[in-house]
Structures are given as C-alpha cells and as structure tokens.
C-alpha cells in the first residue's frame, strides 16, 4: 500500500463521471483506457426504495502488486519513496501480462500506442503539491486524497456517524 490514500465517500457520489473525464484529459488518453472509472452498482430494491451506488475504482496501489511481479520487462514499478505503482511506458512492450494479473482491472490497454496505461495518482501533480486530477474536480467532494492515516480516520468518523443514534437510516 502506498503511503497515499484516495478515498471515496460513496454516499456523496452522484455518478457524474467528471473524475474520469479529468483523468483522461490530464493523461491525454484515447477512447478505451479508463485509469479511473465510476462503476454503477444497482439499482436494487432495498425495501420499497430502489437504491444505486457509484463506486470509484482506480488502482489500489497494492503493497505486493501482482502487476509488478507479472511484468517481464520491469516497466511496471513501485515508487520507492511513497509506494505508488506506476508504469514506465518506455519499457512497456505491450504484452498485457499486468492487465491479466491484476484482480481489479487497474492496468488499462491503450490501443493507440500498443502499451499499458495505469493510474499513478498523478505523480507529477502530487510532486508539485497538487491533488490527483480526478480529486481536483470532484463535483461533490466525495473524493479525497491524503495519507493512509487520514483516510482511516475519515472512515472511522464516517462509520461513527452512520451508527450514531442521530442517524434515522441506521
């Protein structure tokens, strides 16, 4: 796990896909590869009410990334200083082993250049002190980027709020 963490508050997400668009613009990607993707789960009837969830899926930047192990050329790498899993496209030969190895569908195929593209938390941006492109334009502020410690705290707070007696839905 990288020391960064990108968390999504699924309750806030309205599925506007702005994050996907911003990501593509920032990385200049053609039709096809989606480094981050908002997946719609549902609609499903919960009691009488149809409910829907929008789940933000990009890359988890695993502690032991299968894609890095699978890559025969050393193109897929883990950045030593913060654990970001990224691809050096100059080394990529387009064998797609990372695509097949990843259980989360994170590495994406760019048919235009015959190489793999992958979320790198916008390394260049965060090195300049900016947020990843997707986070920067999130309309509902459901995406947040920070350290793993921040994220666990957010999650605890969110959970605490959901189980608190003030919440009528719980």
């Amino acid at each position: 796990m990288s020391k960064h963490y990108l968390s999504q508050d699924t309750k806030k997400c309205i599925g506007c896909h702005t994050c996907e668009i911003q990501c593509k613009l920032n990385k200049n990607l053609p039709v096809g590869p989606k480094l981050c993707q908002v997946i719609q789960v549902g609609p499903k009837l919960v009691g009488e009410i149809p409910k829907i969830s929008f789940i933000f899926m990009s890359c988890f930047h695993c502690e032991n990334p299968w894609c890095v192990s699978a890559c025969p050329t050393g193109a897929m790498q883990k950045r030593a200083k913060d654990g970001i899993v990224f691809i050096d496209k100059d080394l990529c030969v387009g064998c797609k082993t990372c695509v097949s190895a990843c259980p989360w569908g994170a590495p994406q195929w760019n048919p235009n250049i015959g190489k793999v593209e992958k979320c790198d938390y916008c390394m260049d941006r965060i090195d300049q002190g900016l947020e990843p492109a997707c986070v920067s334009t999130c309309t509902t502020n459901c995406l947040s980027f920070g350290t793993v410690e921040d994220a666990t705290l957010i999650r605890r707070e969110r959970h605490a709020a959901s189980v608190s007696s003030f919440d009528e839905n719980s």
């Binding site: 699924t10 309750k11 200049n28 993707q37 997946i39 789960v41 549902g42 499903k44 919960v46 409910k51 829907i52 969830s53 789940i55 899926m57 032991n64 990334p65 299968w66 192990s69 699978a70 890559c71 025969p72 050329t73 080394l91 030969v93 387009g94 064998c95 797609k96 082993t97 695509v99 097949s100 190895a101 990843c102 259980p103 989360w104 569908g105 994406q108 015959g114 190489k115």
Partner: protein
C-alpha cells in the same frame, strides 16, 4: 528541423512532439495539427494519394486565422517551409510508396526488388502466382518489364542472389515462376496489354529491336508516343534472338512478347540499318523528335594470336551464333575448341555440339571459380559432354593449308598482381600442349559496332567504346538522343537492358515535355501489398524448391529443343508460396528482441532476420514457448507479425505463416475474450510468490472492476 533523417519522418516526430507536449494549447491549432499528422502518417505508410499534399496545404493555411496564438503561427510557419522546400520528397513517398533512406520503416522495398535492374515488384507477383492469379502477376511484372516470359527463361536472376529465403534453405526460383505465369496467361489468352494513352502527336525513333529497344518502345507506346523501331537484322529480339540459342529461349517466346508490343502500334522496320538505309536527317524530317540508341554490342573481340587470320575456320562466337539463329544449321567442324568461358562461350559450345560436332572443348585461361559464365550453364554444358580445360592460354592456331589441326596452348597459373583484385593467369614455362581442333571459336567478349552512328555527333563515347549517358535518364550528351543496353554498359544482361530501356522511355517523355531530368534513378515502386498466403509453420519450413525437369540427354546432344522443361503447376504454386514476403517484413528483428530480451520467452527463432550473423531459423519452434502475449505484434511497425483470432484460436501469424495457435478462453461473467491458458500460466509463474492460489473464476478486466466494486461496496 535537423537534416539527418527522412523529412517525412522528421515532420511526424516534430508534430507529435508539439501535440503531445501540450505546446499547442489552442484547441483549434491542436485539431489542425492532429489532422495534418494523420495525413503525413498515411504518406509515411504508403497509404496516401497526391490529394493528401493538397489537403495538408489547405490545413497549414488554416493555422493563420485572425487572432491565432503564437504556437499555432510558429508550427504553421515551420510546416509551410518544410512542405515547400521538400515537396518532392513527400511526393515521392506518395508515388513510389518508398522511403529511400528507410526511415519510414513501413516503406522499405524487398531486397529482391532492389536487386532487380528493372525493379520488378517480386513479392507481389510471387504471391499472385501462389494464389493462381497468373494474369494478374504478369500485369504486375509488365509495369516494370515488358518481357516476363523471356526473362523467366534466361534472366541472370540477380534477385535470387539477394533472396532472403536463401538464408534459411534455398532462394525462391523467382526466374522460372515468371515464365510459368507468362506461358499460362498467354495460353489462357489472358496476357493483355495495359490501356495505352491517346496518341500525343510526338514520334520517337528506337534504333535496335533488342531488349532495350523493345522495353523503351513498349513504355513510350503506352505513354502515347508514336514509335518506330529500326532493326538491321531481319528479326526482332536482338541478342536474345541471335545470341541466345533457342534450346534456352525458344523463338516463339520472343515472337509472342514482341507481338504484344506490336499490338500497341509500335512499327518495326527490319533489315534497316541506321546510317545506311535511314538517316538522322531523313527521320527528323519525318517528324521524329527523339532518338533512342539500343544498338547492343555485337562485334566480337579477336584472339590476337598467331594463325588467327590464316584459317577460314577461326570463327567468332557472335557471328557463329547469329548464323545458326538465322538458319545456317551446319556443324562448324568435328573438333570444336571454344576460347573463353562466358555465357556466350557456353552457348557457342552447346550449339556446336547440337549441330553434330564430335568433341567440344572450352579453353579458359583462368580457373572454374573465376569463369564469368553462370555456374548452372556450365554444369548443363558439362552434363552434355562438353570438356573444360582451365588455366589454358591459347598461343597459336596450328594447321596445314586451309585446315586447322590444333590449338597450341600454354598452361597457366594464377598470380596475384599489384593494383588488381583479379588474379592474373601467367604462363608456366615448358608446359605447352596442343588441343586437337579443326574449328576455333573465339568467345572472349564483344564491343559496340559504331558504324552508322556517325550522325550522332554530340554523343560521347567512352574509352571502352560504349555510349556515355546519365544513368538516371539514359540521356546522352546530345539533346534528344538517349541510349541504353549493351551499347551503354558493354556486354551485359537482358534485364539490365530492359531496365535501361524503361528509364530511357521516362527520360524521353520528360525531354519531350520540357521537364528536367532526374539526378537519381527512380527507386523501385511497390505496386500493392498483396495479402500473404496463409500456411502452417511446418509447411513453410518443409516446402522444398522443385527440381527442374530436363529434356533427355540424347535430345540435348542432338536437337535444339528446350532443355529446361519447366515445373508443373503444383510445384510452381508451392515454390511461389515459399516467399517470406520481405516487402511486408523488413526484418528489423524487433519482434525477436522483445520476445527474447524483454519478455524472456525467446520463442522466435528467426535467424534469417540478421543480415550479418545468420543463425538458425525454425518457424516451428515458436509454438513450443510462445504464450501469444502479442508483445511482438504490438511493436511491429509494418504489421508483418500479427495476433489474430480465428475459430476459437488466438494465432501468431508472421507474413502468412501461422507460428502459433492457442485456444482462446472466455470471461466466466460476460463471455469476453480472454488470454490463452499458456499466457495465464506465464503470469501465475511470475506472481505465484505474492498471490495465493485460490479457486479463481476467469474474469475479464471490466468484470473484475465491476465485481470488485460490488464486493467492496454493497449497496447500503
């Protein structure tokens, strides 16, 4: 922009960089740039027409709209300058589908085509022949060579010496396949002339009806010129007719192909010698505006030894072969000695044998390896019983009265001399000997007969007595006078004369239209890209070149029937499909490198791709290790090696050869196509130490995300 690499490639790099780097921040400027880039890429791929250039011109102008930001103006200006300055390079990429500097990787012509003096698009017509499309193959050949049948029988086949397949086993029998296709197309009445342009009112006179003259006449006639061919002999074909014996090249073959040229309206005047029967002034008065000299090299060198002038039976090979060709079918004598060992010497020897000579000996002053004759021809001569004596220098012709009794010779050894690459034969003292002979035929070379050419005062002649020309246009120093063939090169080959005649035809066309002549010869044109013939790796490896069936030996020693009987149809189709298609795969070796060095799989054993150090090639071994990952295909510039999916199999195909075929798996969720089991095993081997082997369902990328989303975030 730097001047080192091809301008087209350079422009692509420049534009891509400007687009990728985000330098062109203006959306309109970026859109224009992307459109221009697409057009230039198509030019570099050989998929463009001349409209592409006009299209680019228009697009470049649209950079300069009112209020256009600085980056647009800068890129626009740079492109405009490049296109104006190097327009002809872009144009030649479009017209010839060729990149002379090979920087535009996709456009490299095959080695065989580059080796052919006429630049025939060999891989294309071989593939057409393999597919049984003989008439189409002939059509492709005749764009560069109007005499495919003749060349199919007697070409010196420089293409075969460059054939890449020779690095695996044996070169493709390119030569004869042409002859088969021509014969079949002719027999099917499918051997057709291409449509010719309307008569443009201009007339060209061709001097000499040999291969050079016929070739020029053909292309000039197609371009709409009125062509008259002046020929001193009573027959057409020049040296092909009176030099090459008919057991190698039947007369009918020349007649049929010349008839095709006549059909285009070319006028042949036989028994007409330039300078005697017609004059330059006379022809100019008749309205001929350009002259093409293809008079060949018909005069034989004499031996310059004692006794040569004394006996009537000292013949020169050229006159002898001509007399036989024109109907004198008498044996020159009982014991014939031919001096020299070029193709003409072999022809004279084999002709003497067929006319009834009891013994025929070829005497040559160097050794077998140095002999200029085609080794195959020498072998055929030996099979027929012709004797060779090497390292033999003729000294004197001996005889009594008018009759020759023998040829006195000196034994020689080869000595290395300063300033010469060729070993020089030097007599060894005291080893003289006599070869029994009643006829001596000198076949030590020919030169150009300049009689009758006096009218062409402005033409420069070289020290060797040949005509000097600019080799790109075949233009002589005299305006409006062009020349090609043996008259320019000295005794050479039919195919060189054909190539020269074609270049001259284009040169004459430019001259008569006041277009400046090119400085460099045209680069061979790749006509189309014919889809390769598909076959298994085993078949591609095990196909063997057919053996040429020969006439039986008794007939070879007594008659002038054609010696090489030709392959049967099945052999022809098979042989043509052995072609590796070097017009598609330019053997850069990137696929091998990636598979071996990057992937660590090393499944591609394609040693033939390395020009310098040829290692073993075996298409069959690929299937043993290949995981059909497709990294090779993803990196192939020319799409020569591709991954495709057919009948539930994922296949790796190199120029039609199926190197590997593995069963496709499907996503358990949505049935999307997934990698093969071998490929997944490769990944498991790599990731085994970090992943626990669990009972996994086979899922595609999309489903993995979807299921991941559902599992992790159930709907609240």
């Amino acid at each position: 922009m730097a001047e080192k690499i091809c301008v087209v490639r350079q422009t692509i790099i420049y534009l891509s960089d400007k687009i990728r780097s985000g330098y062109l921040s203006d959306p309109k400027g970026r859109r224009i740039s992307e459109q221009i880039l697409l057009l230039i890429e198509e030019i570099a791929e050989g998929a463009a027409s001349l409209d592409h250039l006009t299209g680019i011109d228009t697009l470049v102008e649209s950079y300069f709209y009112e209020g256009s930001p600085q980056p647009n103006l800068e890129v626009g200006k740079a492109l405009k300058e490049t296109i104006v300055e190097h327009r002809e390079i872009f144009q030649s990429h479009i017209e010839t589908r060729n990149c002379p500097s090979h920087d535009c990787g996709k456009l490299a012509p095959s080695p065989c085509q580059m080796a052919c003096p006429a630049g025939i698009d060999i891989p294309t017509y071989l593939t057409l022949i393999a597919k049984g499309k003989d008439a189409e193959a002939i059509e492709v050949i005749r764009r560069d060579n109007p005499l495919p049948w003749v060349c199919g029988l007697i070409c010196t086949r420089p293409c075969e010496f460059m054939c890449v397949r020779a690095r695996i086993d044996a070169p493709i029998s390119i030569k004869f396949l042409k002859a088969f296709a021509a014969e079949r197309a002719m027999s099917d009445r499918a051997y057709k002339n291409p449509p010719k342009k309307e008569f443009n009112g201009k007339k060209v006179c061709v001097v000499g009806a040999g291969p050079g003259g016929i070739s020029a006449a053909y292309y000039l006639a197609l371009m709409g010129y009125g062509v008259r061919v002046i020929e001193a002999l009573p027959v057409s074909g020049g040296m092909m007719m009176v030099g090459i014996p008919r057991y190698r090249l039947p007369r009918e073959v020349i007649d049929r192909e010349v008839a095709m040229v006549e059909e285009l309206g070319v006028e042949f005047c036989y028994n007409t010698r330039f300078g005697r029967d017609v004059t330059l002034e006379g022809l100019k008065e008749e309205g001929f505006e350009a002259f093409f000299l293809a008079i060949g090299a018909h005069k034989a060198w004499t031996l310059g030894i004692e006794g040569e002038q004394k006996f009537p039976k000292v013949l020169d090979a050229m006159t002898f072969l001509k007399d036989v060709a024109l109907g004198d079918h008498h044996a020159p004598g009982k014991n014939v000695v031919v001096v020299g060992c070029g193709n003409v010497a072999i022809d004279a020897a084999r002709t003497s044998l067929r006319l009834g000579a009891e013994s025929v000996t070829i005497a040559y002053r160097r050794s077998r390896n140095q002999a200029p004759a085609d080794p195959e021809e020498m072998e055929h001569a030996e099979e027929e019983g012709i004797k060779f004596v090497f390292l033999t220098i003729p000294q004197e012709i001996l005889g009594e009265g008018q009759t020759i009794t023998g040829l006195s010779c000196m034994k020689a050894e080869l000595v290395k001399v300063k300033n010469s690459d060729r070993l020089v034969p030097t007599p060894i003292d005291g080893q003289d000997f006599i070869v029994k002979a009643d006829v001596v035929i000198a076949a030590i070379g020919q030169y150009v007969d300049t009689s009758g050419m006096e009218a062409f005062e402005g033409v420069n002649w070289s020290r060797r007595g040949t005509i000097e020309v600019n080799h790109a246009s075949m233009e002589t120093a005299m305006p409006g006078v062009f020349a090609a063939g043996d008259a320019v090169s000295g005794p050479a080959t039919v195919i060189e004369a054909i190539g020269g005649g074609k270049r001259a035809a284009y040169g004459i066309d430019r001259y008569l239209n006041n277009i400046p002549q090119p400085r460099m010869p045209r680069i061979p044109v790749r006509q189309t890209i014919e889809s390769p013939v598909e076959m298994t790796a085993s078949r591609k490896m095990t196909l063997k070149p057919p053996v040429m069936p020969m006439l039986n030996m008794d007939r070879r020693r007594t008659t002038f029937q054609q010696v090489e009987l030709g392959y049967d149809e099945e052999s022809v189709r098979q042989e043509a499909s052995r072609c590796l298609r070097c017009d598609i795969c330019r053997r850069c070796g990137k696929c091998v490198e990636i598979c071996r060095d990057k992937m660590g799989i090393d499944a591609l054993q394609l040693g033939y791709m390395d020009f310098d150090v040829v290692t073993e090639t075996d298409f069959r071994t690929t299937a043993e290790n290949c995981i059909t990952c497709g990294a090779c295909a993803a990196n192939c510039e020319n799409k020569a090696i591709v991954i495709d999916e057919k009948d539930g199999q994922r296949r790796l195909v190199l120029c039609g050869t199926v190197l590997n075929s593995q069963t496709i798996q499907y996503c358990d969720e949505c049935n999307a196509v997934l990698p093969s089991a071998e490929y997944l095993q490769f990944i498991t081997n790599k990731t085994g130490h970090v992943t626990q082997v669990v009972d996994q369902r086979l899922l595609c990328n999309d489903c993995q995300r979807k299921i991941g989303a559902r599992v992790n975030h159930p709907i609240p």
